[in-house]
Amino acid sequence: MIILLVLIPALAGAAAFFIGSDPPRRGLLVSIAIVQFALSAVTWIAPPAPALGGWLAEDALGRLFLTLTSLLFLASSFYAVAYLRGERDQSHADIEEGFLFSNAREASFTGCLLLFLAAMTLVTLSQHLALLWVAVEATTLASAPLIYFHRHHRSLEATWKYLLICSVGIALALLGIFFLAVASSSPGSKTVSLVLKDLLSDAPHLNPLWLKAAFVLMLVGYGTKMGLAPFHTWLPDAHSEAPSVASALLSGALLNCAFLGILRIHQICVASGLADFSQRLLLVLGLLSMAVAAVFITGQTDYKRMLAYSSVEHMGILAVGVGLGGTGMFGAMLHVINHSLSKVMLFMVAGNLLAVYHTKSSKNVTGALRVLPVSGLLWVLGFLAITGSPPFGPFLSEFTILKAALDQSRFFVAIVYLVLLTIILAGMATPVLGMAQGTPGKDVVVPAGRSVALTAVPATLGGAILLMGVYVPPFLARTIQEAARLLGQR
């Protein structure tokens, strides 16, 4: 069963490259997304048996991330089909500089989407740290072509930066894994197991010096991929140049997978009594990411870049949550879900705005509420949700993290956290509200025959975010609780 979860999207992805006609390929994309989601839902009822000698297994953390990933992919697949239908014509005028460009083959785009799903699924299910590494690097390779869907020089530049910066980061993470292997090599034995379970049970005997070095390298490596400052530089470029559905998946699903990589090594640090060390580093990087995001969100005129920096901010919040420990851990796990849902929805709405206004500059977009009533409304609501306003989900999780800081009497952290959140709220309010209100320009025309899915999908996600704010289902709360326990919350 576990193997099927990885194999189905991988094989379908490989097949999609060779399906020439559009309707069956799009059907394949959606049906694989449905199957994947159904399978991952089944794992909640019937936990799958470990496979490949324990290398692949599903624990609470994995189940949480896997289900979230397949849910987001399901939403994105509906949106993607509607989006691709609108992109059919051969060449487009560039929205910023006006030259003509063509798109990559849709077959490659769909194939890469499915391979990307397979790689992300493998990340969530890997219990062997080197296998996890292989999977994370595979996500980079599968998603790079997604960014270069619109074939022009800016997206190419973004793809290049993404590929190179992330590959270098990931190479450092591999060094970290080797360090971990050195840390775990006990006297006399030459076989080193990098399976999480063995490492955790062996944790007290790990060499602390090498383990610390391993943690730092893996934090830098996976942190690059996750978009933690100061290693985030690829993120705004890639997210702003990729087609919106790819941005949504990069931000909502991929960053989580990299975060999971950090959580795994953190688990080992906790088990070997180095929790203070790893938590302090996470806390510092988390606050730094929030600060960097606050600086770049203020005065940002490109609304897709604004969303990208918001992702840097929220990755920072996650790191702060884990860095604080205690109930912060629960808050961080809850926030993973809330952030992903909100951000995917916002990127989808941003895609709708982009398709109508043909500009990424928030100054040139006005009257969105009148031109696109549903998308305009979702844009404002999404902004409220992502900045942590009640009654939406992110409020609950951000508040839980704040409470963890206050409970531990870490008032400095709490104050910095609150101040940065306020700055970001103010920085995002101006462009977002300016875009929504006012009268639209005369040349703004809504193209005829837009698919319903373009608004229905983000609206559904919006409903889920609202639900998460007022009611966390007990089965979900239990799993989050269990995941937080794996990370050392007592």
Binding site: H128, A130, L131, W133, V134, E137, A138, T140, L141, A144, P145, Y148, R151, H152, H153, R154, L156, E157, A158, T159, W160, K161, L163, L164, S167, V168, A171, L172, L174, L175, F178, A181, V182, S185, S186, P187, G188, K190, T191, V192, L194, N207, L209, W210, A213, P236, D237, S240, E241, F296, G299, Q300, T301, R305, S361, K363
Partner: protein, 217 residues
């Protein structure tokens, strides 16, 4: 066996300097290819004479990929992009070599600090691996041609691999192949990107890829 390992590691350090000092891309590609071959030898030498079929097959595969296949790919990319030399690096070649010397010193010091526990590996191993990683990072940050940056990435990867190979990690073969495949596909995709960059821009100078930034309009 340690003497053989030491010799290999010294050669590895020398290829690092070769990379730092050379402006001709062909020479750089050749240096990285030599590194690939040296790593294969290192992996065999690190097995202390207890050779198994897989123990030989895997280094041979990695040598084939890193020593021949990838260099061939990069040479092709170089020809397609019509570039022969790295012109105007951010810092000059003499300075690069001096930085390399400093990096070697730092690596030796780090090797002193981080002693391998219970490993029979050569004392040169940790410094040489670190040094190779550092050379890769220097190339990545100070060279502007896309191909040289890929070479920097490969050098970094080689440094990491040297470390892994020589601490005689008993990594399952499937994973070794997975890692190798990732690196291969990575460089392959980068090669495609280079091809597209040279077609799109008529050059492959990444320091001129500057249209994306946070400008206030």
């Amino acid at each position: 066996m340690n003497q053989l390992q030491n010799a290999i590691l010294v050669f590895l350090v020398l290829t690092g300097f070769m990379l730092l000092a050379s402006s001709r891309l062909v020479a750089c590609i050749r240096a990285v290819a030599i590194q690939g071959i040296l790593l294969g030898l290192l992996a065999i030498a690190a097995q202390d004479g207890k050779l198994s079929v897989f123990g030989v097959l895997l280094p041979l595969t990695s040598t084939a990929v890193k020593g021949f296949l990838l260099p061939w790919l990069l040479t092709r990319a170089m020809r397609d992009a019509d570039t022969v030399r790295e012109i105007e690096p951010l810092i000059g070649y003499n300075l690069s070599v001096i930085i390399g010397a400093i990096a070697l010193g730092v690596s030796l010091w780090l090797g002193q600090r981080l002693q391998l526990p219970n490993q029979p590996a050569s004392f040169l191993l940790v410094p040489a691996a670190f040094f190779t990683c550092l050379v890769g990072l220097v190339l990545l940050t100070t060279r502007s041609k896309a191909i040289t940056q890929v070479l920097g990435y490969l050098t970094l990867e080689n440094g990491v691999y040297a470390f892994g190979a020589a601490v005689a990690l008993q990594m399952p073969i499937l994973l070794e192949l997975g890692i190798l495949l990732d690196v291969f596909v990575g460089v392959f995709v980068m090669g495609i990107a280079i091809f597209n960059i040279s077609r799109q821009f008529d050059h492959i100078d990444t320091d001129r890829l500057v249209s994306l930034s946070d400008r206030v309009r």
